[in-house]
Structure formats: structure tokens, C-alpha cells
């Protein structure tokens, strides 16, 4: 466990040492801030059935930075070590492969958390200033943020896998982005298909981040997405572990 934390510490330090980290954080705050402002404007336009939490997590301004952040967070982690050859130093130290893989993945999750943590402050401020609860109940915060983390874990795992597949950060970023968009568009299909009865519509619901987020940010808890994201994350991490080992053995 000590080794895991040493590796994890290194990942976090490395992430926050590159200028890219601050560029991403800056623009991220900018866009989410704008998103929050847009939500407040929406609520100001008279009667509305949505809450602030719903308005925040269900706009284009949310999905755009959300999906775009993953390639930027994960593209470096494995590709850079392979390109610079430091993987050789790393893997000849007495550490186990899974420690390295998990530490790197955990580093990404940590950065993702740092990216989103400030958004919670918006809701606190909203409550302080406006005096209205931004969510309908505690459930909508818990739902929205747990869905954020669940989706984040899955997409970060995809990003790490892409990064482990190549020595080139750009290639890793493009693969990640393509994979996430693909999943996203499958989910989008559920809006195009007839509303009820269709098997396809039912099936696409399982993949639709938008639908999942809509439900969860209303405080509706559904086990299906939870199982979907957790099991997919595990599957991708499993693949990542094997790709990582295989690429080294081929080297």
C-alpha cells in the first residue's frame, strides 16, 4: 500500500506540474461558471419546473467541457512514460503492474475530482444569496454528483486505456475523444427514436449519459446506470491492465 501511495503522489504531482493542468482548470471554471449563469438566467424567465441542479447538469455547456476534459486528463499518463522511456525505470523498480496501473488511474480520478469540486461552491452560494434550495432534495445533489463520478470513472478508464495503447499523446487524446463521443451519440439515439415501446429506445437508454444525468439530477435513483458504469469501468480497467502488461512484454 505504501508503494501505491508513492506512485499516486507522483501522478498527482506530475499532473499539477504541467501548464496544461492550469489551462484546463482555468477554462473549465470559465465554462462551468458560464453554465451556472445560464442556469440562473433560465430560472429567471418565469415559471419553470426545473431546479438549479437540474439546470446545471443538463445543458450543452455542461456536456461540452465534461466530455472534452477526459482526453486532456488521461492522454499523458501512460503514453508519456512509454515515449520518454521512463516506463523502463518505473517497471524495473520493485513495484507490481497493478499498483502502477491503479495509481495512474487514481491520479486521473483525483484530477477529475479537483476539476469538478468548485462547482459545488456555486450551489452553496446560490442558496446563500437567493435563499432557495437549488435542488429539490438532498437526493438531487447526491444523484447528480454520484452520476458525475460514475461517468467520470468510466470515461477516465477509457482514456487511460487509449493512453496505454500508444506512445503518442495526441493519438491517445483522439482515441479517447472518439470513444466517448461514440458512446454519447449512441445515447443520443434514444431522443430520436419514438418515445415508447421501441426495443431500440429501451436499449439505448442503457448507454445514454444524458438520460442518466437527467434522472439522477432530479434525485431519481436507478440501479441500472450504476451497474452499467461500475461494470464497464471494471471491464475497461481489466483491459487496461492487460494492454499495459502486453505492451511491455513486446517492447
Amino acid at each position: 500500500m505504501r508503494k501505491f501511495f508513492i506512485l499516486f503522489g507522483r501522478e498527482v504531482a506530475c499532473a499539477f506540474r504541467q501548464p496544461l493542468a492550469y489551462v484546463v482548470l482555468f477554462f473549465f471554471l470559465l465554462v462551468t461558471g458560464f453554465n451556472f449563469q445560464a442556469g440562473v438566467t433560465l430560472l429567471n424567465q418565469g415559471d419553470s419546473t426545473t431546479t438549479m441542479v437540474e439546470a446545471f447538469f443538463n445543458t450543452v455547456y455542461f456536456w461540452f467541457p465534461f466530455t472534452l476534459a477526459f482526453p486532456l486528463i488521461t492522454m499523458r499518463v501512460f503514453a508519456e512514460e512509454a515515449r520518454s522511456g521512463t516506463i523502463e525505470m518505473l517497471m524495473t523498480a520493485p513495484v507490481r503492474d497493478y499498483q502502477v496501473v491503479l495509481a495512474k488511474y487514481a491520479g486521473c480520478v483525483f484530477f477529475f475530482a479537483v476539476l469538478w469540486a468548485p462547482s459545488a461552491i456555486y450551489f452553496v452560494m446560490f442558496r446563500q444569496i437567493v435563499g432557495i434550495d437549488p435542488g429539490t432534495a438532498v437526493g438531487s445533489y447526491v444523484g447528480a454528483y454520484s452520476m458525475l463520478v460514475l461517468m467520470g470513472m468510466f470515461f477516465l478508464a477509457i482514456g487511460c486505456l487509449a493512453s496505454a495503447l500508444t506512445d503518442n499523446q495526441i493519438v491517445a487524446a483522439i482515441m479517447t475523444f472518439a470513444a466517448i463521443l461514440f458512446l454519447f451519440f449512441i445515447g443520443l439515439l434514444s431522443f430520436l427514436l419514438p418515445a415508447t415501446g421501441s426495443f431500440l429506445r429501451e436499449a439505448t437508454y442503457y448507454f445514454s449519459p444524458i438520460e442518466h444525468m437527467m434522472d439522477f439530477s432530479r434525485g431519481i435513483f436507478d440501479t441500472r446506470p450504476v451497474v452499467f458504469y461500475l461494470s464497464s469501468t471494471l471491464a475497461v480497467l481489466f483491459a487496461l491492465f492487460h494492454v499495459f502488461q502486453h505492451r511491455r512484454w513486446k517492447a
Binding site: R10, C14, G85, T86, E88, M89, T92, A93, P94, R248
Partner: protein, 313 residues
């Protein structure tokens, strides 16, 4: 300390290392000598536990490098070729990270890092970013990293490649000082380096071990037949070459003109040194001589000699 049996590594249809056997005893400095692509790096990577072999086995400090990889890695300090380092870290910070990763207990971290920083001459750069260090310093950071956890075995892949002559001297003297505490396996394609540092030499070519001997024996073996340069003013080069061929111990003579001088390249017979005979011959004929020398053997000649010897058997 190291025991290698029938170690083989294939990359697709290419056999990089072909059934290699050798042993390294405690406290030895063994040099891996070979041209680029000979299989030095592949062998070292396998020993360091980075690359699994296609077949065969290797043991370090009594632990199998593959089935007990973690235990074995604890006893190995490995410095890869070109020394990849995390360039965003400072020297001391990097060594602290590496030491902790390699299991140096927390209370001993400061002491160990202080020791290696001093030993490797990194005191004045200990707070510098690795990105801003010269190649020579990076090499020394790599060396410090390799020995920070006091491993029994140091594996150094081309420790002096790409350094300027001064830095090469520094790194070599560093390695020489290490031999008291570590067994060292280093690779190089510089023959003199092996002679200066190693107690034994493994010559490897095309994935096979061509020779395994002490540098002294190797030099003797190579010294038996060698080239001699003989530089003199002679009236008739062709006639002179003919008389030189008559001398004992001379196998063949070639010559070229260099202004008034003629440079003879004399190939000596095995186990003969005709330099004295050449000198006497020149004196008898009253030739003016400016050089009689035996140029140091080059790596190409080592291979020519070693491999031709193998074939002749």
C-alpha cells in the same frame, strides 16, 4: 550473484538473444562488449525484469528474475541506456521518490540520499530540475538512482555513451569506486573501457556469446596476431616490402607512400612480435625510421579475431 541459463529472446522472427549462458560472482565487474544490436540491451532488460525471455531462465541473488521478479528487482539497481528520468522533478526529490519506491525505510531516506548525492557528485545540483541538467549530470543521477537502495547488483547499460571525455572519466572513476560494495554488470562498445573497469568480459555478437574471459587473456589472445606499423624512408618500396616478408614472424606486408616516407603495414604471425626484427633490419639497411608501432586493437578486430577463431575450431 547472477546466473543465466539458456536465456533466449525473440522478437517475431528475429532472435535478439540466443541461448546465452553465463555467471557473475559476487564483487565482480563484468563487461558486456558488443556492437550495436548485439543483444546487450535485451539481455540486460531481461535481467532487470523489464522484459520476459522467450525461453531460458535467469537468477539474481538467488531469486528467479521472472517468477520471483519483485524479490529479484529489490536486489538490482538498473540504469537503462540514455537514462530516462522524470524531467519535471528536482534531483533530490527524484531520488527520494525512487528510494521510497524501492523500499528504503522512511527513517533511512535522508541518509541514503545524502550518501548517493555525495558519492555521485550531485551536491551542487541537488535542488536543480532534472530538465535543466547536462547529459553528464543526468547520467550521474541515473547512477545515484540505481544504487540508492543498496542493491547487490548494478546493471548499467552503456553508462558512458554520449558523454564528453571529461564526463566519461568522472563516470568511470565512479564505477570503479563502486566495485567494493556492488557486483556490476555493464555494457559498452568501447574496448578500452572494458579493459579499464572490468574483471571479466563477455563478448556478445548477434545474440550469442562469442567469448567470455578476463581482459588480460583476451588481450593476449588478440595480441598473438596483430598489425604493426613500420614507417621508414626506403630507396625502393617494392623491394623493401619483399625483404620484409622474408623476416621471421611476418605474415604479409602492405605499403603506401606518405611523401618521402613509406608506411608498411606488417601483419605478424600468430604469437610473434617482429618489431625487433624490423628494427634490426632497418638498421642493417640504414633506413631512416620514424615509427615502429603496434596500434591498439579495435573492436572490429576483436570480433574478426574472436569469431574467426570460433569458426576455425
Amino acid at each position: 550473484m547472477v546466473k543465466v541459463e539458456k536465456l533466449t529472446r525473440r522478437f517475431g522472427s528475429v532472435t535478439a538473444v540466443d541461448s546465452v549462458d553465463f555467471e557473475v560472482g559476487k564483487g565482480e565487474i563484468v563487461g558486456f562488449l558488443g556492437p550495436n544490436g548485439a543483444g546487450k540491451t535485451t539481455t540486460m532488460r531481461m535481467l532487470a525484469g523489464f522484459l520476459p525471455p522467450t525461453s531460458g531462465r535467469a537468477e539474481v541473488a538467488g531469486y528467479d528474475v521472472f517468477s520471483q521478479s519483485l524479490r529479484a528487482r529489490e536486489h538490482i539497481g538498473y540504469m537503462p541506456e540514455n537514462v530516462p528520468l522524470y524531467t519535471d522533478m528536482r534531483v533530490e526529490e527524484y531520488l527520494r521518490y525512487r528510494a521510497a519506491l524501492k523500499g528504503v525505510p522512511r527513517r533511512r531516506l535522508a541518509e541514503r540520499i545524502g550518501d548517493v548525492v555525495e558519492l555521485c557528485g550531485l551536491v551542487e545540483v541537488r535542488r536543480k530540475m532534472i530538465a535543466h541538467l547536462s547529459k553528464g549530470y543526468r547520467q550521474r543521477v541515473g547512477l545515484a538512482d540505481a544504487m540508492v537502495h543498496e542493491p547487490g547488483l548494478l546493471i548499467l547499460d552503456e553508462p558512458t555513451i554520449g558523454l564528453d571525455p571529461n564526463q566519461v572519466r568522472v563516470v568511470r572513476s565512479l564505477i570503479r569506486n563502486l566495485r567494493r560494495h556492488h557486483t556490476i554488470l555493464l555494457s559498452t562498445h568501447i574496448l578500452t573501457e572494458v579493459e579499464m573497469l572490468c574483471s571479466r568480459v563477455i563478448i556478445i555478437n548477434k545474440g550469442r556469446i562469442e567469448a567470455l574471459d578476463t581482459p588480460q587473456n583476451l588481450r593476449q589472445r588478440l595480441g598473438r596476431a596483430g598489425k604493426i606499423l613500420f614507417d621508414a624512408v626506403v630507396p625502393d618500396a617494392r623491394a623493401a616490402a619483399a625483404t620484409l616478408r622474408e623476416l621471421g614472424g611476418v605474415k604479409s606486408v602492405e605499403f603506401r607512400a606518405d611523401g618521402d616516407w613509406t608506411v608498411f603495414e606488417v601483419q605478424a604471425e600468430t604469437d610473434h612480435d617482429p618489431r625487433e626484427a624490423l628494427y634490426n633490419h632497418a638498421m642493417e639497411n640504414r633506413w631512416r625510421v620514424r615509427e615502429i608501432s603496434r596500434p591498439p586493437v579495435t573492436l572490429e578486430e576483436v570480433f574478426a579475431e574472436v569469431t574467426s577463431g570460433e569458426e576455425g575450431r
